[in-house]
Assembly symmetry: C2
Homo-oligomer: 371 residues x 2
């Protein structure tokens, strides 16, 4: 299989049925591929635009085996695929990205250790297993710092800030005394990310780094490209490509980084975390590049040549969170703007309902003001 | 209904399940709309990317009524919707574009008479009902000329060339002695088309005119934009907008025109035919504009504000006909190129299997050589 691509007419399975699965499914359809969505939810957004849909739990071994055997390759839209699910699927089919990437990204300690081994800068961190290790860590790392569960955190969930040593135990309680990591606060200028793809032949292709602006711990806007000295942008892409290569990665990966102040360090980039999947900060590629991150991921998974990551336009992507989706009609009147809605019935607070991308002529993006 | 848009969460029905229906369905999904495909075929390309699919004949009244009543509006991907089908759907729901446009575009004589009444230039033509009217028409219009069935012709089907008067009867036999039109040959420089949209509020928006190059009577390539003097381009857009307005049109329409040589006439544009639907020569908008013709059509049908038709890039769209689809892997390696495949299982000769769009910086498209 490894050398031969999954040609048009083939079928790709996607684990997960949210907006990322939906945009992956649409991209795959454009490639002439059939898509099979596997998801425990009723009416997941992705199933509606896919040829096939299995509704089953991630622990349903028989359903997983049928699924893996009915498709040419399986990929996923979320990093928290249970290890056992991934194992079953791998035994009965091809899973891309593979198990190393998944294991690394699922556990903040494993992830940080991996970065350290690669000589990649991270925030100072410590493994928290009990009250004693927490106390020692708060002492050595200092405050403020953040206590995060090792697993299953996203969008600020599963974490608690520790402003002073006295708050440590309360924070530990807040995250349910789960296996955790303590991370030191890093003074950074901006958060950037790189969307990198790696093919089955080991080739990599990275879109230019972008800047991400958060609101309530959720991505609010992505500015493409990030305004960076060329050497820093190149270094960011090189770091992302190295991570993908070292993990023997196949597919698209999002690498979140902090840009450190110029005075603070000779090395200005620190990796915050990786997402072994398409990434919210890559949505702008749908409208500003010939090949989007979703198609790029499917190309990698299917062994197609990777697309060139050049963009034809600069862009600002704005997430539509919760009620913000009600702005669709106003957004639809804005020039050079693509509105993408995910077909979710209920606009709960904090729920990603859609996004809008405004395009600008290369080099002509106006300064962005905080919203 | 007329004032209130079909909001995200609504459902649009599409009559027809080919590639146009498929690209319409994907665009509608991006708008957060649900799609219901109605098509008599098994496994039509569009059904795979739509939420609902009814397989039934266009003459199945009960199925049509259920379909019309289950959606917020019905549109179609082909102009040859039987009049009776359109009537049934209109009685049980909203059909856009409406019956006048359909009746006009379905019959070449009605279409030409409409243009004449608007003072829009067409090729010389005559209504052919029998051998006598054919003989008279060949005399008055002269040779070479083309005999076409009044209805159901496309991609060069249902037409026969008449090089000299003696060939007239053979041509008439060739098209099955159906009600026909005789059209005089027009010496034109190039074929262009305009993709125009008209909303329910009467607003229109036209993408810049494009040049179309045919091979074996099938569109081979579209160059966006056509190289035209500004006055001619403006006139082309104005003609298209006028046609849409006069037909009280709602949706996207393709207007094919011939550009006459500068010396021949003060008026350089002649309308060849209209297509009351999204059009092959508008596929480039998927990759070169913030709002594609498919989304634009759905916006009009749903009463949304029309998108701005500005393009961010110039483009060359190449159809992949029959076996040409096998070039997908080579095309996937080309920079700035989007490959779109329609998911059709069998690559029959003359069958539209996909298309590829190559983007260029505005004003930097290289000259195109014949393939």
């Amino acid at each position: 299989m490894s050398g031969k691509p999954i040609a048009p007419g083939g079928t790709v399975g996607i684990l997960g049925g949210g907006q990322l699965g939906r945009m992956l499914a649409s991209a795959a359809a454009e490639m002439g591929l059939h898509v099979h969505i596997y998801c425990p939810d009723e009416n997941p957004p992705a199933a509606e635009v896919a040829a096939h849909y299995t509704r089953a739990e991630y622990e349903d071994e028989a359903a997983l085996i049928r699924f893996a055997e009915s498709v040419d390759a399986v990929t996923y839209e979320f990093e928290n695929v249970p290890a056992e699910t991934a194992r079953i699927l791998s035994e009965h089919g091809i899973v891309r990205p593979g198990p190393i990437a998944l294991a690394t990204a699922q556990d903040r300690i494993v992830e940080k250790n991996f970065m350290k081994a690669q000589g990649i800068l991270t925030a100072p961190y410590a493994d928290i297993t009990d009250e004693t290790s927490l106390k020692d860590a708060v002492e050595s790392i200092g405050c403020p710092s953040v206590l995060k569960t090792r697993r299953f955190g996203y969008d600020g969930k599963g974490q608690a800030k520790i402003a002073s040593p006295e708050e440590a135990l309360a924070a530990y309680d807040e995250i349910g005394r789960q296996p955790a990591i303590l991370e030191g606060f890093v003074k950074f200028e901006r958060e950037i990310s790189v969307i990198v793809a790696r093919g089955i032949d080991g080739q990599t292709a990275a879109y230019d780094p972008v800047e991400n602006i958060h609101k309530n711990h959720i991505l609010d806007r992505t500015l493409a490209p990030a305004e960076l000295p060329k050497a820093v942008a190149d270094e960011a892409c090189a770091i992302a490509a190295r991570i993908a290569s070292e993990l023997d990665y196949v597919g698209v990966m999002g690498v979140e980084m902090f840009l450190l102040p110029e005075a603070g360090s000779k090395r200005r980039l620190l990796v915050n975390e990786i997402a072994p999947r398409v990434h919210n900060s890559g949505h702008w590629t749908m409208d500003a590049c010939a090949v989007s991150q979703f198609e790029q991921h499917m190309r990698a998974v299917c062994g197609w040549p990777l697309g060139h990551p050049r963009r034809h336009s600069d862009a600002v992507m704005t997430n539509l969170i919760g009620d913000e989706v009600n702005e669709w009609e106003r957004l639809a009147t804005e020039p050079d703007t693509s509105v993408h809605l995910y077909g979710k019935a209920e606009a709960r607070p904090g729920r990603k309902m859609g996004h809008a991308t405004r395009l600008y002529t290369l080099g002509k993006r106006p300064p962005v003001t905080p919203s």
